[in-house]
Amino acid sequence: MRRLSESEYRNSIADIFGADIEVQGRFEPDRRVGGLLSASSAILSITPAGFEAYTRMANAIAGQVVDAKHRARLIACKPADAKAPDEACAGQVIAQYGLMLFRRPLTAEETAVRIKLAHDITVKTNDFHAGLRYGLASLLAAPDFLFRTEYAVPEADGKWTLDGYSRASRLSYLLWDSTPDAQLLKAAANGELARPEGVAQQTDRLMASPRVLNGMRAFYADFLELDTQVVKDPTFYPKYSDAVAASAREETLHSMLDLTMTRKEDLRDLLTTRKTYINRPLAAVYGVPYNFDSEWVPYEFSADSGRSGILTQVTFLSLFSHPNRSSPTKRGVALVDIFLCQPTPNPPADVDFSIVNDISNPSLKTVRQRLLAHATNPTCAACHTRSDPIGLALENFDSIGQYRTAENGDPIDASSSLQGKAFTGAQGLGLALHDNPNFPTCFARKMYAYGTGTNAATVTPPQYRPFVTAFSDSGYRVPALIKAVIANPLFFAAPAPAAAPAKTASR
């Protein structure tokens, strides 16, 4: 059972009722588990304040669906009398939207209580559409819509697997970040999705649509932790603004989608490429001229720019810094966690970090010098020797990602090493990570965890080996990985229910 994320909710409503239906309201916060927000969808519930907001949204959405502006397009039947109940018409609309919202056909009972609700309200208000509105609102506020409830069915060998409708939802939310479309629901209904060929056929169809970019956009934003709140101190960074932050996020997602999905290049090149997309606010931060009329343009940094793929984009450099200065430790910790799936344990409880701060010491002018002095403490060294060198390779970039060559008058030394390999600067780091097999493995594990709503840390080698191998065989093409993840028999596996009735909800 997984709670819909904000984007899944918004996209589902847009797909079911049209993009012009406004969704205004507050969504419950999610939490990062094993590096992904999506994993928390399987453990979080709905609080009183959250339900209040969902109910308000449900009423507002249902109100728009039946209003004069949308009625003709969205309500497929006309009541015999607009002021009186019409159970046939109400039942038709409730069954139609019930299937889409619950991602499975409604039971007879679920339909009947809603027809009755619509009937009673129509009688009270003398308005068929008012009755229908509340019937629809009761679908939108129901747990079956707000949670993706997955159902398991027994397989021949005594194992359990997801039923067709639950499979349709997994495919659709992974590939489109939205609710299953009519064809996918049909494939669930006629048993196609119970067979690997049927799954592969639908996967190909969904991936042929440009909407797969929405699906991967949502995954990439989760993978790169782009939801992290960023505030910069305007005293130090007057150029930084909400517009820069939003542009930077778009730059990262657009360039990542372009490389992996549109040009279908090697995922690892993300860490080394100098190609990107910029707009005017970003050009100012990057210190490059912007002589273009269009809002966004493709741009290639020069070889001597020091830039190296998403590692040196404004997003990554600013997300993992302090409001007022760079932080090699934060950057190093984020890099190994995000790209290599190696989370860093909490520092020990009783540590004196004073030396890192003491800028009055004449021999410790740069962050590097102060950090290294601190890391000689053996308790600290265990983690810092792992994270700091990686982060220090990015020291040529300040807290918002501007290039620099000196700090407090001393030149910056961006030499570094990763697992015994020495290199210098962001480009050296990019190459080292590019060639580190943990990066594609980590990426693949997280995609699987994202699709199944599990904690990536619990995805074991026997589980991920088949699709990691396929990924590597393809030359690290993301579309090939997606197909391999879905084709993995475990992707739709379900735990056996405790006491096994014929049909059982799982997870």
Partner: protein
């Protein structure tokens, strides 16, 4: 001073014209001014105020205990209210065999009575929700949460586990929640809103799904569905309240919608936004929209910052050397002082509303707490706390109480008893106690 603050505040709300004026007339009160003339007592409210990274001991912890303790520089902003709160020092959160989860174990133990096992998760429901179970009936909202920094993840009120009650993240959002659709001031032309009745019937349809769904799920999902259906019941309660003629008798004026404000963790920004959040909250309490509130100034690993200073609060606690002559970290301590200035704004707002023969603050009990005593060391012994307000006369105030390393649960137990809960012990393992702080029980 109060006058100036209010005058300043008024300027932050769009227009100074009142939407609804709700005069408290003396004739509504009994002779003592402690109850309404119809016998209904003025309700007692409970709230929490949380800030991260603690206080500077040498600047905040008095040497003497009891009443008339010496003034401490870090608490200067609270001095006008010294007679209305107790300062608690020296209580300890015990973790027993669990790890000291940095910036989480201390605050988690204070509000649940149990040391957390996992970062970001609570062992059970937080104390405000336990109290809400008993006193929230009859108000529109079970509780109101506010994240002063605008981060929707900064709420430390929970029904247990990883879920937290989502906070309001802007003054405009808080205003809309309290005084937007659904708010009703009563009056002679009051009629129940038929829309609410229709929505009630929607909820009863949703609630009917409960049995069918519950029959088929595993234990973890069952608990999540229980939370969902609890939320449905809470909203049913809210709607039932909205359908009753409100008996609001408070000497407050509902202001207009506040203007859009920048919300973040810069100290000057917080000093501007906290008074607005506080004033709106106080009016919401006075008009009985809720009896439970939780305001979080920041997250536990406090990233409050001062423009132009290259360290955020949390980073400063770890990186700034202790000035040997002073005996503390001078820059770090300023952030704690600013946290107390923000806290004083909330106290001032509650004390600024007359209620009966006292103020709203007198009819509140507020627990102000933090995550560590010495943030530099992530220490969870001696975490400073405050109990503010006299809970309608059930708590004696104006004292400094030293906890002598006894469990922080003594504070939680005292709070629950003052709020009228029938409870004689509280907490888990070494945090269990049956000893309330009797010195302050009235």
């Amino acid at each position: 001073m109060t006058f100036n603050r209010r005058t300043l505040l008024r300027g932050l709300f769009q227009g100074s014209a009142a939407m609804v004026a709700l005069p408290l007339l003396d004739c509504f009160l009994d002779g003592n001014g402690t109850a309404l003339a119809d016998g209904a007592p003025i309700p007692t409210r409970f709230g929490t105020f949380f800030w991260g990274c603690g206080l500077t001991k040498v600047l905040s912890q008095p040497k003497s205990t009891g009443a008339n303790y010496e003034d401490m520089p870090q608490l200067a902003a609270l001095k006008p209210y010294k007679a209305k709160f107790n300062l608690l020092s020296g209580y300890r959160a015990y973790v027993d065999s669990k790890p000291n989860i940095q910036h989480w174990s201390g605050n988690g133990a204070i509000v649940t009575g149990a040391a957390p096992s996992q970062d970001g998760q609570f062992e059970g429901q937080t104390i405000d929700q336990t109290i809400a179970d008993v006193i929230a009936k009859g108000t529109r909202f079970r509780s109101i949460e506010i994240a002063c920094s605008g981060n929707k993840r900064e709420s430390y009120s929970s029904l247990g586990g990883a879920n937290t009650n989502p906070p309001e993240t802007s003054p405009a959002g808080l205003y809309t929640r309290l005084f937007g659709p659904g708010f009703n001031a009563g009056g002679s032309d009051w009629k129940p809103d038929p829309e609410v009745m229709l929505q009630q019937s929607v909820l009863s349809v949703v609630a009917e799904d409960r049995q069918r769904l519950m029959a088929n799920v595993g234990a973890a999902d069952k608990a999540r569905l229980e939370q969902y259906f609890t939320s449905v019941r809470e909203l049913e309660n809210t709607m039932a309240v909205e359908l009753k003629k409100p008996e609001i008798v408070a000497s407050v004026t509902i202001p207009g919608m506040p203007e859009n404000m920048t919300v973040n963790k810069s100290v000057p920004v917080l000093l501007k936004t906290v008074p607005v959040f506080s004033r709106l909250l106080a009016i919401g309490l006075a008009t009985n929209q809720t009896r439970i509130f939780n305001m979080a100034l920041t997250e536990p690993a406090n990233t409050m910052f001062m423009p132009g200073d290259s360290h955020v609060f949390h980073q400063a606690t770890h990186e700034e050397p202790v000035d040997e002559a002073l005996g503390y970290q001078p820059n770090t301590s300023k952030f704690s002082t600013h946290s107390m200035e923000c806290f004083a704004e909330l106290v001032a707002a509650l004390d600024g509303i007359q209620e009966g023969n006292g103020t709203l603050l007198d009819h509140c009990l507020m627990l102000a707490y933090t995550d560590t005593s010495n943030a530099k060391l992530h220490a969870i012994d001696g975490i400073p706390m405050f109990l503010v307000g006299s809970a309608g006369g059930r708590i004696k105030t104006g004292m400094h109480i030293a906890g002598n390393s006894e469990t922080t649960s003594r504070v939680g137990l005292t709070v629950q008893q003052a709020m009228g809960l029938t409870v004689d012990h509280w907490g888990v393992a070494s945090n269990q106690t049956n000893k309330p702080i009797s010195e302050i029980q009235a």
